[in-house]
């Protein structure tokens, strides 16, 4: 039977853990708000850019040069998969679900005879894939800190991707990331980044309704498209980074909320045990005193 002191120590240690987790929850909650604001602020730009792109996509004739970002290389043999995880843990299943999903995707692509390379973003996925498929990693990005560095970090990734693409190192690029659904739920999503997926039926409809056809283009449609495509890749990466950042904070908040609640329950049950033990000791001592008095 544990002594009173043991239980007391245990209560104290659970108590301080609870303090830490509840503080982390608060921090995550305020960071979540900030990341959400960032994601919100990026929306006008990306939606405008997308609209422009969709209205121009039809004018892309042949797959030469930069236009290849839209039309593809004509092959689909070499893939590059970019899992986007967090740099830090303690956020529930956030990182492990990304790693699991990516691993599954890679295996299924390889099962179909494709060649797959990896470009993990975030420490947690880098470390994971360093363990399981080290030789397939061509580059990794860690410590991005997207909420403070902003667009720069996305530019780095997209420049690297485009550089590899135009060197012919891969034909298709797929991002795996946590889509921010609400503060407490994230959804692991796959998005094809290169070549651009324009077969979005919703967008097609919008295009028909709007009157894009009568725009004048300066200098001309193709030149604009050539400027637009690389920017679109960067902005897509940026959007994904922001989503993932907001998702991370949300996941951490939920995980820490749970941990705080569990710690509270644990303290309650330990306190009960402590009081019972204390009562038992008192009873025992009383019996000893009484029986001692009786024997005199």
């Amino acid at each position: 039977m544990p002594s009173l002191k043991d239980i007391k120590t245990q209560i104290n240690s659970v108590g301080s853990t609870k303090k830490i987790t509840s503080a982390m929850k608060m921090v995550a909650a305020s960071k979540l708000r900030r990341s959400q604001e960032k994601a919100e602020a990026a929306r006008p730009y990306s939606s405008r850019l997308e609209e422009m792109l969709y209205s121009l996509a039809s004018s892309a004739a042949s797959g030469e040069g930069i236009i290849k970002l839209l039309t593809g290389t004509g092959n689909d043999q070499n893939y590059i998969v970019v899992p986007v995880s967090a740099d830090r843990g303690l956020c529930g299943g956030f990182n492990s679900s990304i790693n699991r999903e990516t691993f599954k995707l890679v295996k299924s692509l390889e099962g179909n005879g494709k060649k797959v390379q990896l470009m993990p973003v975030g420490k947690k996925s880098r470390d994971f894939f360093n363990r399981v498929m080290k030789d397939q990693i061509i580059k990794s990005f860690v410590d991005l800190n997207v909420s403070s560095t902003g667009y720069e970090s996305a530019l780095n990734i997209s420049n690297k991707l485009q550089e590899l693409y135009f060197e012919g190192k891969f034909d298709k690029c797929i991002l795996v990331f946590n889509k921010f659904k609400s503060a407490i739920s994230q959804e692991v999503t796959q998005q094809q980044l290169i070549p651009l997926d324009v077969s979005n039926s919703e967008k097609e409809e919008e295009k028909d309704n709007s009157s894009n056809a009568i725009y004048d283009y300066e200098p001309d449609e193709e030149t604009i498209l050539k400027d637009l495509l690389p920017k679109n890749v960067s902005i897509q990466v940026f959007k994904v980074l922001l989503e993932s950042d907001a998702g991370e904070q949300g996941a951490r908040m939920a995980a820490m909320d749970n941990a705080t609640r569990n710690a509270g329950e644990m303290i309650d049950s330990l306190t009960l045990k402590y009081n019972r033990t204390r009562q038992a000791f008192i009873t025992k001592e009383l019996i000893e005193i009484i029986s001692g008095a009786e024997s005199i």
Binding site: Y45, R48, L49, M52, Y151, I214, T223, L228
Partner: protein
């Protein structure tokens, strides 16, 4: 006099959003002056100054953009730019230093950065369009 709604958007935020009188944007083939009722144009931009004027043609603000796109229709003008700074907040000495550093390097990216930096310097030095 009529006004035109003007949005200046960067990936990180909405920089400017208001009803204005006139806007001048640095189109790839030359500067575009945009007044209310402008015909529909979509243009890509070179690095340069975006000037915003109110209805009586006095300058409200001037921004430096590192390139981007402009979408113009009779009621609205939207400029998408990757990086936006107010011309007033640019510092001549730090840009000159940047240019010197870049001139010693090589590569395609450096070339682009150099042309942006040079355009920045020009944006500080010139003063045409201050009054129209």
């Amino acid at each position: 006099m009529a006004t035109i709604s003007f949005d200046l958007v960067s990936p990180e935020n909405l920089v400017f959003n208001d009803e204005v009188g006139t806007i001048i944007v640095p189109g790839k083939d030359g500067d575009l002056g945009i007044l209310p009722g402008h015909s529909k144009v979509m243009s890509s931009l070179r690095p340069g100054r975006v000037m915003v004027y109110n209805e009586d043609k006095s300058l409200i603000k001037s921004f430096f953009v590192s390139g981007g796109f402009a979408e113009i229709n009779p009621e609205k003008c939207i400029v998408l730019a990757e990086s936006v700074v107010e011309v007033n907040s640019l510092e001549k000495t730090s840009i000159e230093k940047e240019i010197q550093e870049l001139e010693n390097k090589e590569g395609k990216e450096t070339e682009e950065q150099l042309s942006v930096a040079k355009a920045k310097l020009e944006a500080i030095n010139v003063n045409y369009y201050d009054k129209i």
